[in-house]
Each structure stands twice: as C-alpha cells, then as structure tokens.
Subunit: 156 residues, 2 copies
C-alpha cells in the first residue's frame, strides 16, 4: 500500500472508534516493509486506561506480536500528531518515521490537552502546573550505581 492508503486506514480506525464509543477520534498503524504490524485505536474511556492512546495501543500490540521491545525500521501512521506521551513512546520504541494527519492545533481546537502538554513539558519543574518535589535522592542513586554493575543486564 502507498503512504496515503495506510493513513486512510488510520483515519478510518479513528472514525469507527469514535462512532463505536470506544474512546476519542484517534487511530494508528505500525508499518514495516510495506506490511501492517499492528493497528490501534484510542481506548481511554472504554478500557479505563489514560495511557491507551491509539499510538501506544499500536506500539504495545506490535511489540507483543513480534516479541520485542524495539521496532527499528518501522513507521507509524497516526490520524493525529502524537501527544508528548505518544511521541516519547515512539522514541522509546525506536520507530523511525512518523506520518500524521490532524495537527496539534487541530486537536487543541476540539478540546484535548496535547498542545497544553507540549508547553508544560518544556517548562522547568517549578513552573509546571503539577507540583513536583524531590525526596531521598541519595538512597535512589545507590540503586542506579548498582545497575551499572549488574552482570548481564538488558539495555533498552
């Protein structure tokens, strides 16, 4: 399939998901070598999972099917520009190319927080709307030091 056909499928998933009251109007596909590895749609409200955005659902599904935690060489087609959670998940999954349809501005215009979150995440800790406080840094650092010495640890 061509790029546009993959995106048309992501948009179709978004529309169907919304009409089935599964969650927000968002769909995504993970594709590699012209083959769909997994599809995802937003399931936040139907599955009681605030992390179940279409991109995260598709990434988890592709990784589960392939029994891997890294999708090198894969692309994601998403019906909307990823929110910061999904964008970071795309990086962690080692996906190499993003195609999107609706933009961050489009999704702000229908009432979602994506654009607000991009601004929050760029702020220093003290200026964000959720207060953050550091505790027991020394005790936690000892665990990080132990990680560096752990024999045969799996890096990701």
């Amino acid at each position: 399939m061509a790029n546009k056909e993959f995106m048309r499928r992501a948009i179709e998933l978004a529309a169907r998901n919304m009409r089935d009251y599964e969650g927000g109007p968002f769909g995504a596909l993970i594709v590699r070598d012209g083959r769909v590895l997994a599809e995802g749609h937003n399931r936040v409200t139907s599955c009681n999972d605030p992390t179940a955005h279409a991109e995260v659902v598709a990434i988890r599904e592709a990784c589960a099917r392939l029994e891997t935690f890294a999708l090198e060489g894969a692309s994601i087609y998403t019906s909307c520009e990823p929110c910061p959670m999904c964008l970071a998940a795309i990086y962690w999954a080692r996906i190499e190319r993003i195609y999107f349809a609706n933009t961050r501005a489009d999704v702000a215009a229908i009432g979602f927080d994506d654009d607000f979150l991009y601004r929050e995440i760029g702020l220093p800790l003290r200026e964000r709307s959720i207060p953050a406080q550091r505790l027991l840094g020394d005790e936690a650092l000892a665990v990080f030091r132990e990680w560096l010495e752990l024999p045969g640890r799996t890096l990701y």
Copy 2:
C-alpha cells in the same frame, strides 16, 4: 505512611525489579488519602513493552482497580523523575502531585534517553531526529468535526 516511607517503597521496588531482571531500575507508587492505590515497576524488557515504565504501569493498574480513567487527588511517588512519556501520562491521568528521587541528570548518567527526549520534544517537528510528515489533513479533520457533534460522547 509519611512521604519518605512511600518513596522508600518506590526505591525498594526499583532495586528488586533490577535484581530480578524484570527491567530497568525504576519503581513507582500511586497514593491517595494516605493509601497506596497501585505499585508499578519497569517491565520493558521482560514484557516486551517499551511503554511499560514504572509510572505507566502504576497508573494503568490504579485505573484498572478503581475502574476509572482519572485519578484526581492522587500523588505519584517515583524512584526517578518521570520521562516525557510518563510525565504526560501523569497529566492525562489527572494526578495532582509528583514526588521523585533520582533526577533527569542522574538517569542520563546511567545511559537512558530521558534528557535527550525532553530536548527532542521541545524542538519544532522539522528539527527532531525522527522525521515527521503530514498526510490527508483534510480527511482527518472531518472526523474531528464529527466528534464535536457526537451525542453523549465521554470527554477525558
């Protein structure tokens, strides 16, 4: 329990998880009204899920138990400052306070990408290391318009 005791438990989860080879040295707790709603530890490598960071695991577990997609009034205790994926998940979950132990600099020093991701996410689309391309914006926008008119939709 006092704040430090909750954090000590998050650090204990991080250490145990690492020593059991379940994933990276990270643990988290969701707490409300002095009660632990859920615990989480990093399971990226053992569960083949790049989104299974301690915070995301704890949020999903708390929401599943309470059958809700929003954790108003809750705090998160995490053994390390959340990466952008986890920070955005905390916002989406409506958690109201963050306690962390290790910092973004500490986790960069042991080889994880958190600090790199904070910088990437702040860049304009064209300057990021993962290329992003827009396709079929008009077709996708029609779905967003339909969302606004959808009777009885669940907002989140």
